[in-house]
C-alpha cells in the first residue's frame, strides 16, 4: 500500500521554494509523436508494417527489418524483471525526487523496456503499463500495480506524472453555471483542499448560489474574465496559493458566418473565451510556474474546457467554434511555454452541453456530471486531451483520422 499523502503544512517563510525543474527534454521526432498518444492516455508502441514486430524505444525504422513503423494501441500487460532504486542523479529534476525507482519490464506486446515504477510494484509482479507525460511533456512508460492498491494515487513518483486534486487549491473560473458547480463538487470529493469559485457578477443571483457557497471547502471569489482588472486583482490575491486553474467560462450563442451571426455576440464570445483565456494565463501562469515543485500541493495544471467544434467548425454555431479554435491554438502555445516550467496544460473537449443555448440541437448532449468526471480524470491521469461525452469522442476520432473530411461533415 501507499502511505497517504500528509496534509501539507504551511510553508516556512525563511525557506526558499524548490524551483520547478523538468526532466530532460531533448527527444527525437518519433518520441515527440509518442507524446501525442500519451497526451490522450493511450498506451501505444510502434509496430512494423512489414514484419509486425513491436519495438521500443521510439525509432524511425524497424530495427529488425528496416520496415516503416506505425503507432498501434497495445496490450498494457507486463511483468517486472528487475528493480533498481536510483539514489543519485546529475539531473536537477530527479535530484529533487530521490530516491527514484525504475525497473526492467517485459511487455506482453514484445519488447523489454526500462520504466518508472509505482511504489506498490515489485520484482516479479504482473503490472499494468501506462504511457504518461512527464512534467516536461515527454512520453514515459510508468508501471502501475495490476490491481487497485490503497492510496494508490498518493504514490510520490506517480504524483509527478499527474495533477491530482488531492490537497490542492483549485480555482474554478465560473461557478455561476451548473457545470462550474458540478466540477467544484467533484474536485472536493477528489480531495481538493479548497475550490475558489469564480463569480463574474457577485451582485447578481444565480441558481444554486446559496447551496454551493455553503459547502465546506468552497471559497467564492469575484472573477470576471472579460475584465483585465478583475483577473489581475484576483491573481494578486491568490497567485501563490492556486495550484490548479480550471477554466469553465464559455459564451455560446447560435449563429452562422454570413447568416444569423450577431457581431456583438461574437465579440462577447471572443472576449470571454479567447481574450479571457489569455487574461487568465497572464494572471496565474507566472506564479504557478514558480511553484511546480513546491511539495505536496505544488502548482500542477491549467485546464481549459472548450467545445470540440474548435477542431472542425460547426454549422449553426460558427462563432462558438471559431472561439474554440482560437483557444486550442492559444492552449498549444501555452502548453509549450508551461512545459519549460513543469505545469501541465490540459484541454477537456466537450460536445454541446445540455444548456439553454443548445436547445435546438439533438441529443446526446453533455450534462454537468459528465464534464466533472472528465475534468477529474484529466487531472488524476495528467492527460492533456480528454473528451467529455460521445459527441466529442466521435468528432475527435474522426478528426484524427481525417481532419478535412471532419470539417466538411460538421459544416453542412
Amino acid at each position: 500500500m501507499t502511505e497517504p499523502l500528509p496534509t501539507p503544512k504551511r510553508k516556512d517563510p525563511l525557506g526558499r521554494s524548490t524551483l520547478g525543474h523538468v526532466p530532460p527534454g531533448l527527444r527525437s521526432r518519433a518520441a515527440t509523436e509518442m507524446a501525442t498518444y500519451a497526451a490522450q492516455g493511450r498506451f501505444v508502441l510502434q509496430s512494423c508494417d512489414r514484419c509486425r514486430s513491436v519495438t521500443y524505444p521510439p525509432r524511425d525504422r524497424c530495427p529488425t527489418c528496416w520496415g516503416t513503423l506505425t503507432w498501434v494501441d497495445q496490450d498494457s500487460g507486463a511483468r517486472v524483471e528487475a528493480v533498481t532504486t536510483i539514489r543519485h542523479s546529475t539531473d536537477n529534476f530527479f535530484r529533487n525526487h530521490m530516491p527514484w525507482r525504475i525497473g526492467t519490464v517485459r511487455l506482453d506486446a514484445g519488447p523489454v523496456a526500462i520504466v518508472h515504477l509505482h511504489g506498490d510494484v515489485h520484482q516479479g509482479d504482473r503490472v499494468r503499463m501506462t504511457l504518461r507525460l512527464d512534467r516536461g511533456g515527454n512520453p514515459a512508460l510508468f508501471a502501475m500495480p495490476k490491481e487497485e492498491t490503497p492510496n494508490m494515487q498518493d504514490d510520490p513518483q506517480l504524483r509527478c506524472f499527474t495533477a491530482h486534486p488531492k490537497h490542492r487549491r483549485i480555482l474554478v473560473t465560473d461557478g455561476r453555471s451548473a457545470i462550474g458547480q458540478a466540477i467544484a463538487r467533484a474536485l472536493l470529493k477528489a480531495g481538493a483542499q479548497t475550490v475558489f469559485l469564480g463569480d463574474a457578477d457577485p451582485l447578481m443571483r444565480y441558481p444554486g448560489k446559496a447551496e454551493i457557497e455553503a459547502q465546506e471547502g468552497i471559497e467564492p471569489v469575484s472573477l470576471n474574465m472579460t475584465d483585465s482588472g478583475s483577473v489581475q486583482e484576483l491573481a494578486a490575491q491568490l497567485g501563490g496559493r492556486v495550484d490548479i486553474v480550471i477554466n469553465t467560462a464559455c459564451f455560446v450563442r447560435p449563429g452562422g458566418v454570413a447568416f444569423g451571426a450577431k457581431l456583438s455576440d461574437l465579440q462577447a464570445g471572443f472576449d470571454l473565451g479567447v481574450l479571457g483565456l489569455v487574461r487568465l494565463a497572464q494572471g496565474f501562469a507566472p506564479a504557478m510556474s514558480a511553484r511546480s515543485d513546491d511539495g505536496v500541493n505544488s502548482a500542477a495544471a491549467f485546464l481549459d474546457i472548450l467545445p470540440v467544434s474548435g477542431l472542425s467548425g460547426q454549422f449553426g454555431y460558427a462563432g462558438a467554434a471559431a472561439s474554440a479554435a482560437a483557444r486550442l491554438s492559444l492552449l498549444s502555445g501555452l502548453r509549450g511555454e508551461m512545459q519549460q516550467t513543469g505545469i501541465r496544460v490540459l484541454s477537456v473537449l466537450t460536445g454541446p452541453v445540455d444548456d439553454d443555448w443548445h436547445q435546438d440541437l439533438p441529443q446526446p448532449k453533455v450534462v454537468p456530471g459528465q464534464l466533472a468526471r472528465a475534468v477529474v480524470h484529466a487531472l488524476t491521469e495528467g492527460q492533456e486531451f480528454t473528451c467529455a461525452g460521445d459527441v466529442a469522442k466521435d468528432l475527435f476520432a474522426r478528426w484524427q483520422a481525417n481532419p478535412l473530411l471532419t470539417m466538411r461533415e460538421e459544416n453542412r
Binding site: 447578481m204 475584465d227 439553454d356
Partner: protein, 263 residues
C-alpha cells in the same frame, strides 16, 4: 457698466456662489448595466485595457483603450434610441441641438415613495398634487426624479433584478404625456438604470418614458447621482454627450450648477 450674464456667472463660479455638483457615477468595469432578456443583445459594460503605463509599451506615457455600450454608466439617451423617435430630425447624439446640453432642472422628490415601494409609479395625479404644493413645473426644464436610488449602487438592490424582472420606480404614460405635452420638458433625468420603471414593460403603453420622450424629441439621462443635493428649482444641468456619428446615446459627465444658499 452692466456686466453680461456670463461675466456674472464667471464671478459666481470664482467666488463659489455658484457651485458645480457632479451628477455622474464613476465609469468602472463593475458598474451595473441594464439587463435584457437573454435572447436579446446585451449592453456591454465598461472595459479598460492598458496600452502603456510608463513601461516597455510606452516608456513616458500612460493611456488605456476603453470600450462600452452607448448606454453604459451615467448616460444620455437621444431620440433615435427608441423606435418612436427613429424618424425625427436631429435625433442622434451628433445632431442633437447643442443648446439643449445646458438647461434648467426641476427636481421632483419621490425618494420616500420609492423607499416604501420599489415599484412606485409616478402618475399625472401625483404631479398635479406636487404642483399644488410646489408650483407649476416650468417649461423647457429637465425633470429630475430624485429617488435616492444612487445610494444603492454597489448592491444587488440597484438593478433589483428578481425572478419576475427588475423593480425600480418610474413614470406611467399619463405622467409622461403631461410632462412632454403640457410642460414641454427637455427630458427625464433619473438615478435608476433606465428612465422607465423596472416593471414598465408590463405597463400600458409599455415603456412609456422611452416611448413618449423619444417619440417627441426629448432626452433621457440615466444612472445619475446626487440628485438629493439639488434644490427643487433653480439648478442648471450641463450634459454634453459625445459626438458619436449616428449615435443613439452616450456616456457623459453630467454636472449641475447650483446657487449656494446664503450663509
Amino acid at each position: 457698466m452692466t456686466r453680461s450674464p456670463l461675466t456674472l456667472l464667471a464671478e459666481a463660479l470664482a467666488d463659489r456662489t455658484v457651485e458645480c455638483i457632479d451628477l455622474t457615477n464613476t465609469l468602472s468595469p463593475d458598474f451595473p448595466v441594464i439587463v435584457l432578456p437573454a435572447e436579446f443583445g446585451q449592453c456591454a459594460p465598461f472595459r479598460m485595457e492598458k496600452v502603456s503605463r510608463y513601461d516597455d509599451n510606452g516608456p513616458a506615457w500612460y493611456w488605456n483603450n476603453i470600450s462600452m455600450n452607448e448606454h453604459t454608466g451615467t448616460h444620455f439617451d437621444a431620440p433615435a434610441h427608441w423606435v418612436t423617435g427613429k424618424d425625427l430630425p436631429s435625433n442622434t447624439v451628433d445632431a442633437v441641438p447643442t443648446q439643449d446640453f445646458v438647461a434648467p432642472v426641476v427636481v421632483i422628490d419621490i425618494s420616500k415613495e420609492a423607499a416604501a415601494d420599489a415599484d412606485f409609479v409616478l402618475t399625472r395625479a401625483f404631479l398635479e398634487d406636487w404642483e399644488a404644493q410646489h408650483g407649476e413645473i416650468p417649461k423647457r426644464h429637465w425633470i429630475a426624479l430624485r429617488t435616492d436610488w444612487y445610494k444603492r449602487v454597489g448592491t444587488p438592490e440597484y438593478l433589483n433584478l428578481k425572478e419576475d424582472g427588475t423593480h425600480s420606480p418610474g413614470p406611467d404614460g399619463s405622467a409622461m404625456e403631461f410632462l412632454v405635452h403640457e410642460r414641454d420638458c427637455v427630458g427625464l433625468a433619473v438615478e435608476t438604470v433606465g428612465t422607465d420603471a423596472g416593471q414598465a414593460f408590463h405597463f400600458n403603453p409599455p415603456l412609456p418614458a422611452h416611448s413618449i420622450l423619444h417619440g417627441n424629441g426629448r432626452y433621457g439621462l440615466q444612472c445619475l447621482t446626487n440628485l438629493d443635493k439639488l434644490p427643487t428649482f433653480g439648478a442648471m444641468i450641463v450634459a454634453c454627450p459625445l459626438k458619436i456619428e449616428g449615435g443613439s446615446g452616450s456616456p457623459l459627465r453630467v454636472i449641475a450648477l447650483v446657487e449656494r444658499a446664503p450663509a
